[in-house]
C-alpha cells in the first residue's frame, strides 16, 4: 500500500534508517498509525491488511524486507500462523502486535518464534528500536555460518570456552552455535532436520553393527574425505539413504570433535555397553562395560567436574563454570580420566541432607564400579552441607551440552572419553540458579566407578542421559546401577541422549543421573542410589518423584530389551521453581536439548518446532531449601523430552533442530 521496499536490499547506509518494514494489520486505523510512526523513524514501510496479502508480498520480494510487524488477531489468518510461515519461508524477524496482553498470548508469540511482542497501542518508542531484532538475527545467523563452516577444532573449542566465560549469554550462544553448526553443516541434513522436526519421519536405527560399518567406511575414506555418498557406497546397505548417512556423519563428526579435545582425559576404557537400541549413530558401538567411558563421555565428567570443582554454586550454576570446564579439566582430568561420571546435574546448592545422601550414594555407586575416585571428585562429591547456591541451572543448557558430548564420546575407537574437552564444548547452560532452584541435572563426576556405572547406564540408557540432558532436571535420582553394563547395547547412550526419553533405558539412566543430582556430599545416598535399580528410587527421598516415573523398571534386565518400551519417565515431574526461566528454556529446547533453549543472554528463547510434545514435568530441586523440595510444576515443553520413543534414534533432534520459526523468541521484549 505504501512505499515500496527498497529493491535488492542491503542495509541502508544510515541504518537503521531505511529499514524495510512490512506491517500487517486488519485494523485500518492502527495500520495507518503504525505506518506513520515507522516513517517517522525513517523506515521504509509497506502495509497490508491481510495476512495472505502479506505473504504474497513477501514471496514476491524475497529479500525486500528486513522485518515484519503483524497483528495477532486477523480475520483471514491467525497472526501466529503467519508468523510461522514467515519464519519458515523467509526467515525474517517478526514482531507481534496486539491489544491483548494476556500471558498466554504473549507466550504463544514467544513459542512461535516472534522476536518481540508489542502491546497496542503501539508507541513510537517501541517502534524506534525494532531494528535491533534485525541486527540480532543477522548476527546469529552469521555466527551460525561461522561455526558450521569452520572445521577447525581449535577454533570451535575456543569458541566454546570463550563463550563459556560470558555466562549465560555465552552458553546460549554456544548452544546455538552447536546446534546451528550441526544444522548448517550440510544442507541435506538441514532439510532432513526440517523434515524431521515437522514430520517426525521414520528414522533409521543405527545399530551397533551398522554404526561400526559406518565407522569403518569413514575410516577407510578418511574422516576429512568421508562424504555421505561414498560412505553409503561402502556400507552397501540398501536400507540406508544418503540422507541417513549424512546426518549420521554429521553427528559423528561432532562427536569426534568433542572427543578429540581432551583426549588424554577421560578415555573410555572400553566401549560402552551396547545401548538398548542402537539408535545412536554417533555412538560407536560400545562394547564397553566400562562406565567410565560412558560417564566420561565428556558430558558427565566435565560437568561433574565443574560442578564438583566449583562447588555448590557452580553446580550447574552458571554457564561459565561449565563452559569453563577447562578450568576444571586440568584438575580433574586425571581423575576424570577413567572416571565415569554419571550425569549429575545438580544444583549443588541447597542440597539438603537428603541430597547429600544421594550424592553420596551416587558417589559410592561410582566407587563400586571400581574406579578410583579422584580426590577431586571425591571432594566434589563430598560437598559439605550443601550451600545454598543459587545454582539453578537451566537444565536445558546442561543437558544439551552433555548429551552432545556424551554421545560424542561414544567412540568405539576411543576408549577414552575426553571429558574435559567435552566439557568445554558442553553447552551447559547452567544458569545461575535463582534461589537455589535448579533443574536437576545431576552430573556425577566422581569416582570412575560410579561414573562408569553411570556411564554405562547412561549409555545404555542413552535416553536417560538424554533425559537428563534434556530436561536438565534430575529426573530420577536413580543412579545407574552398577551392574549389567555389559548388557547394555552400545548405543544405549546415544539413544538415550537423543531419543525421546521414553526409553525405559533412559529412566534407568536418568535415575542415576538424578542421583547425581544430589550428589554433592551425599555419599551414602549416592551409593545407595547407585546400587539400586530403578525400582528403588523410592528409597531416595529426594527422588520420590522418580518413583513415579519408573516404578518398576529393572534397569538391567530390561535394558537390553527395553528398546521399545515407553519411557516411564513421562511421569517425571520436574518442577521448576521459576517457571518462566525454566519454562522458557525448556520450551525453547530443541528436541535434543530440551533445556538449553536459551539462545542468548537475553533470555531469548528459541522455540523450535514443537517436536515431541510431551508433558514433561520437571523437578526442580530448590536449592534454597534444606530439603530437596520438589516443586512440581507442570511444564509442558514444546517438545516433549520424553516423547513417545520411536526406536529410531533421534540424534538430530537432540542436536537441536532448528526451529521452524524465524528465530528465537526473545523473552525479554
Amino acid at each position: 500500500m505504501s512505499s515500496q521496499p527498497s529493491a535488492g536490499g542491503g542495509p541502508h547506509a544510515r541504518f537503521p534508517a531505511g529499514l524495510r518494514v512490512l506491517v500487517v494489520d486488519d485494523d485500518a486505523t492502527c495500520l495507518r498509525i503504525v505506518e506513520h510512526m515507522l516513517k517517522r523513524c525513517d523506515y521504509c514501510v509497506t502495509t497490508c491488511s491481510r495476512a495472505v496479502e502479506a505473504l504474497r508480498i513477501l514471496r514476491e520480494n524475497k529479500r525486500g524486507f528486513d522485518i515484519v510487524l503483524s497483528d495477532v488477531y486477523m480475520p483471514d489468518m491467525d497472526g501466529f500462523k503467519l508468523l510461522e510461515h514467515i519464519g519458515l519461508e523467509m526467515d525474517l524477524p517478526v514482531i507481534m502486535m496486539s491489544a491483548d496482553d494476556g500471558k498466554d498470548v504473549v507466550l504463544k508469540g514467544v513459542t512461535h518464534g516472534a522476536v518481540d511482542y508489542l502491546l497496542k497501542p503501539v508507541s513510537m518508542e517501541a517502534l524506534k528500536n525494532i531494528w535491533q531484532h534485525v541486527i540480532r538475527k543477522r548476527r546469529n545467523e552469521s555466527k551460525e555460518l561461522e561455526n558450521s563452516g569452520s572445521l577447525d577444532d581449535s577454533d570451535k573449542q575456543k569458541k566454546y570456552s570463550d563463550n563459556g566465560d560470558s555466562g549465560s549469554l555465552g552458553i546460549e550462544e554456544n548452544w546455538k552455535v552447536v546446534k546451528r553448526k550441526k544444522e548448517g553443516e550440510e544442507e541435506d541434513e538441514f532439510e532432513e532436520r526440517e523434515d524431521a522436526s515437522s514430520l517426525k519421519k521414520q528414522r533409521v536405527v543405527w545399530s551397533v553393527d551398522l554404526h561400526q560399518q559406518f565407522v569403518a567406511a569413514v575410516n577407510q575414506l578418511g574422516l576429512e574425505k568421508a562424504v555421505p555418498k561414498k560412505i553409503l557406497e561402502l556400507m552397501n546397505n540398501p536400507a540406508l539413504t544418503r540422507e541417513n548417512v549424512a546426518s549420521h556423519l554429521q553427528k559423528y563428526r561432532l562427536y569426534l570433535k568433542r572427543v578429540s579435545g581432551p583426549q588424554h582425559q577421560g578415555r573410555a576404557d572400553s566401549a560402552f555397553s551396547s545401548a538398548s537400541d542402537s539408535s545412536f549413530s554417533s555412538v560407536p558401538s560400545l562394547d564397553v562395560v566400562d562406565l567410565q567411558a560412558l560417564a566420561a563421555s565428556g558430558q558427565l565428567t566435565p560437568l561433574a567436574i565443574m560442578a564438583l570443582n566449583s562447588g555448590p554454586r557452580s553446580f550447574f550454576n552458571s554457564n561459565a563454570p561449565f563452559v569453563n570446564s577447562s578450568k576444571m579439566q586440568p584438575a580433574m582430568m586425571h581423575r576424570v580420566n577413567n572416571n565415569q561420571m554419571g550425569l549429575l546435574y545438580g544444583p549443588s546448592a541447597s542440597m539438603d541432607s537428603r541430597q547429600m545422601v544421594q550424592a553420596q550414594q551416587i558417589y559410592r555407586a561410582y566407587q563400586n564400579t571400581g574406579h578410583q575416585v579422584s580426590e577431586g571428585a571425591q571432594g566434589l562429591l563430598k560437598l559439605p552441607s550443601p550451600e545454598r547456591t543459587s545454582s539453578s541451572f537451566s537444565s536445558g543448557l546442561i543437558s544439551a551440552g552433555s548429551s552432545n558430548s556424551f554421545v560424542a564420546q561414544m567412540n568405539p575407537q576411543r576408549q577414552q572419553i575426553s571429558l574435559p574437552q567435552h566439557q568445554e564444548q558442553m553447552q551447559i547452560g547452567v544458569q545461575q540458579p535463582s534461589r537455589g532452584q535448579f533443574l536437576n541435572r545431576v552430573v556425577v563426576e566422581h569416582d570412575s566407578k560410579i561414573s562408569s556405572t553411570l556411564g554405562q547406564q547412561m549409555v545404555s540408557n542413552g535416553v536417560s542421559n538424554n533425559f537428563l540432558v534434556r530436561s536438565g532436571a534430575i529426573i530420577n535420582g536413580r543412579p545407574p546401577l552398577q551392574v549389567n553394563y555389559m548388557n547394555m547395547p552400545p548405543y544405549a547412550v546415544p539413544r538415550a541422549l537423543y531419543s525421546n526419553v521414553q526409553n525405559p533405558h533412559v529412566s534407568g539412566t536418568v535415575n542415576s543421573s538424578v542421583i547425581a543430582n544430589t550428589f554433592t556430599g551425599m555419599k551414602q545416598e549416592a551409593i545407595t542410589i547407585a546400587q539400586r535399580g530403578v525400582e528403588q528410587i523410592d528409597s531416595i527421598n529426594s527422588l520420590k518423584e522418580v518413583k513415579d516415573i519408573v516404578p518398576n523398571y529393572d534397569m538391567f534386565s530390561d535394558f537390553n530389551q527395553s528398546k521399545n518400551q515407553e519411557w516411564k519417565l513421562q511421569n517425571l515431574n520436574l518442577s521448576y521453581e521459576s517457571s518462566k526461566q525454566v519454562g522458557t528454556q525448556l520450551s525453547s529446547i530443541d528436541y535434543g536439548f530440551s533445556i538449553s533453549a536459551q539462545r542468548d543472554g537475553n533470555g531469548i528463547m528459541k522455540e523450535g518446532v514443537p517436536r515431541n510434545t510431551c508433558a514433561m514435568t520437571k523437578e526442580v530441586y530448590s536449592m534454597t531449601q534444606t530439603a530437596i523440595e520438589h516443586e512440581k510444576v507442570e511444564f509442558v515443553p514444546q517438545e516433549s523430552l520424553f516423547a513417545a520413543a520411536d526406536d529410531n534414534y533421534d540424534l538430530e533432534s537432540i542436536f537441536g533442530r532448528q526451529p521452524d520459526t524465524n528465530g528465537h523468541v526473545e523473552f525479554n521484549f
Binding site: D27, A28, T29, R32, I33, H36, D71, A99, K120, P121
Partner: protein, 151 residues
C-alpha cells in the same frame, strides 16, 4: 504564540479530556505524528477509529441479541474494538472493554449487557467531545491547528 479565544478553548477542552480520563498518552502520540505533511492526521485517525469502532459496536450488539450469545465471537469483536479504540487513546472506552471481556470470560450475560451499554455510552460521549474539539481547531485554521497540535 498568540492564542485566540478559540484556541484557548480547544486547549482547555483537550486538557479536560485528559483530566477526565477520556484520553490518554496515546493521543499525544498521534499529535506528534501530525505535521505539515499530514496536517489533519489526528482528526483523520479519530474519524477512522470511530468509523471502525461504531461498526464493531453494532456487530457486538447483534451477537448480544442472540440468546445465548456467542461468547467466542463477542470476545473476538471486543478484542478488535479494544485495539481500535486504544489506537487513539480512548482510555475510558478501553476500560469498559476490559470489563466487558471479563464478563465474557465468565459468560455472564447480564454483566456483558451492562458493560456493553456502558461502553456504548462512553464511546458516544467521547465521539461527541472530540468532534467539538476538532471543530474548534478547524475554526482556527489548519496551520494554527498543526502548530497547536505540537504543543
Amino acid at each position: 504564540m498568540e492564542y485566540s479565544h478559540l484556541q484557548r478553548q480547544a486547549a482547555y477542552m483537550k486538557k479536560s479530556l485528559f483530566d477526565q480520563g477520556y484520553l490518554n498518552e496515546q493521543f499525544y502520540q498521534l499529535e506528534e505524528l501530525q505535521d505539515e505533511d499530514s496536517p489533519n492526521f489526528v482528526e483523520d485517525m479519530v474519524t477512522s477509529c470511530f468509523r471502525d469502532s461504531t461498526r464493531l459496536l453494532s456487530n457486538i450488539e447483534q451477537v448480544l441479541e442472540k440468546c445465548p450469545p456467542d461468547f467466542g465471537k463477542l470476545d473476538t469483536y471486543m478484542h478488535k474494538f479494544k485495539g481500535n479504540t486504544s489506537s487513539i487513546g480512548a482510555s475510558r472506552v478501553m476500560n469498559e472493554c476490559t470489563q466487558f471481556r471479563e464478563c465474557c470470560d465468565e459468560e455472564n450475560i447480564e454483566g456483558c449487557l451492562k458493560s456493553f451499554q456502558k461502553m456504548k455510552r462512553e464511546h458516544a460521549v467521547l465521539r461527541q467531545k472530540l468532534e467539538s474539539y476538532f471543530q474548534l481547531l478547524r475554526q482556527d485554521g489548519p496551520v494554527e491547528r498543526a502548530a497547536r497540535a505540537s504543543n
